[in-house]
């Protein structure tokens, strides 16, 4: 079997196991004293946020590699990673908002993690925007790589700044953050979900890169036909 099939199949199975773990295996939250079932949002929420950070890290890495090697492949990887980061960031934000309402009673709060995550999401959208408005492919790759590196370095600074910002003000405590006395079965469920999302991320990344490469091939074909005097457009 080809490796990509194995990858697809394992992603599929991991996702099924994760869903089983989330809805059936994991116990209903009781200790926090709120509406238990809703806690199950937590698994997907944490996982998609994790995937967003993973994607941002890859944007950083691939951008550096692109500037060093100047190979289109790294540009493709950086660009697609940023796109997936924005995608999972969107999921993370939506699930986060739907989690905050029943748990804290508010849709949104300007807490450090939320604020910096929101900003990261905006940065990733800005990155997409930047890629759209540069015409020359070579320049697009370089400019977005530069922005990608700046953005990735900025992200932890933003987070720290947000944490230190008005620390004396009471902020809602994030219940159920990893390690805060999580039930063993819950921790296991979280691990499975994280693994499933990571697999899903890599699978989508591969497919998305493949699509981008296909687009490149088509473009070269068009150009070749044009040089042979054919009316392509």
């Amino acid at each position: 079997m080809k490796l990509i099939r194995v990858h697809a199949l394992s992603t599929f199975i991991a996702m099924l196991i994760a869903l089983y773990a989330i809805f059936i295996f994991a116990p209903t939250e009781r200790t926090m004293g709120f509406i238990g079932e809703v806690q199950r949002i937590f698994y997907f929420h944490v996982s998609s946020n994790w995937t967003t950070f993973l994607a941002t890290f890859f944007v950083f890495l691939c951008s550096i590699l692109f500037l060093l090697k100047e190979r289109r492949e790294w540009d493709i990887r950086a660009a697609t990673a940023a796109e997936l980061g924005a995608l999972f960031g969107t999921i993370g934000l939506i699930t986060g908002i739907l989690w905050a309402k029943p748990v804290w009673g508010i849709w949104w709060t300007w807490e450090a993690r939320l604020t910096s995550f929101f900003l990261l999401w905006l940065i990733l959208l800005g990155y997409q925007m930047l890629r759209r408005v540069v015409d020359s492919p070579a320049q697009r790759a370089k400019l977005s790589a530069v922005f990608g590196i700046l953005a990735a370095v900025d992200t932890p600074i933003v987070y720290m700044a947000n944490r230190w910002w008005r620390t004396q003000h009471p902020a809602p405590v994030i219940a159920g953050g990893a390690g805060s006395g999580l039930d063993a079965r819950m921790a296991l469920t979280l691990c499975i979900t994280l693994a499933a999302f990571t697999l899903l991320y890599f699978y989508l990344w591969r497919m998305r890169c493949e699509l981008e490469r296909a687009g490149d091939v088509i473009e070269t074909l068009q150009r070749q036909l044009q040089t042979q005097g054919m009316e392509v457009r």
Binding site: L67, L119, L122, I123, G126, M129, L130, V133, V134, D135, S136, A138, Q139, K142, L143, A145, V146, F147, I149, L150, A151, V153, D154, I157, V158, A161, N162, W164, W165
Partner: protein, 225 residues
Amino acid sequence: MNFLNQVGAILWKDILTEYRTKDVLTSMLIFGLLVILMFHFAFEPDSLEAEKFGPGLLWMTFIFAGILGMNRAFAGERENDSLQGLMLAPVDWGAIYLGKMLANLVFMLLAESIILFCFALFFNFSLLPRWGWMVAITLLGTLGFASVGTILAAVSMNTRMSDVILPILLLPIALPVVIGAVESTAAILTDPPGESLTFWVRFLVVFDVIFITLPLLLFDFVLEE
């Protein structure tokens, strides 16, 4: 010419052009004063509220006036096709970055000092007792903003809608500067100054160091075709 002379030459060139036209500085100033006017109508602050929102608003004014200036940083070079000449000149491209950045810094500081004066005047701020800190904070905050702004201005110069794309790229990256500058400005307004003052000033220093080094490394790639 050694590196510092190159930086100085480019800085001097920009200052001279600005001195002859005064385009950037005037527009930044007028814009800044307009924001102050808007602030008055939008919030109608009494002196207590002005003290509370003042630092934030002051820095918002600085930042938006700064973006106005940044947009022009490379636009002039582009319109006159002089960037090619600059790139062909026997200078390190890092020197182009530093020169441009310092020029932006100078313009912003000039505009800011007047905006700050008017701000203090209109809203009865007493910045005088701690003017030393205020100068340091303004310098550090503006330096951080100018260093990120200059490289992103160079990035957006090559795009189709450069003046629209610059704020989209710059504002999120410059957010830590805003936080640090606003917090430290708020800290010097209270008597005695808030304890967080030295902390945020140090934070600004760290940000400045990181975001001057990084653009210096990356700037060559932005200019390359």
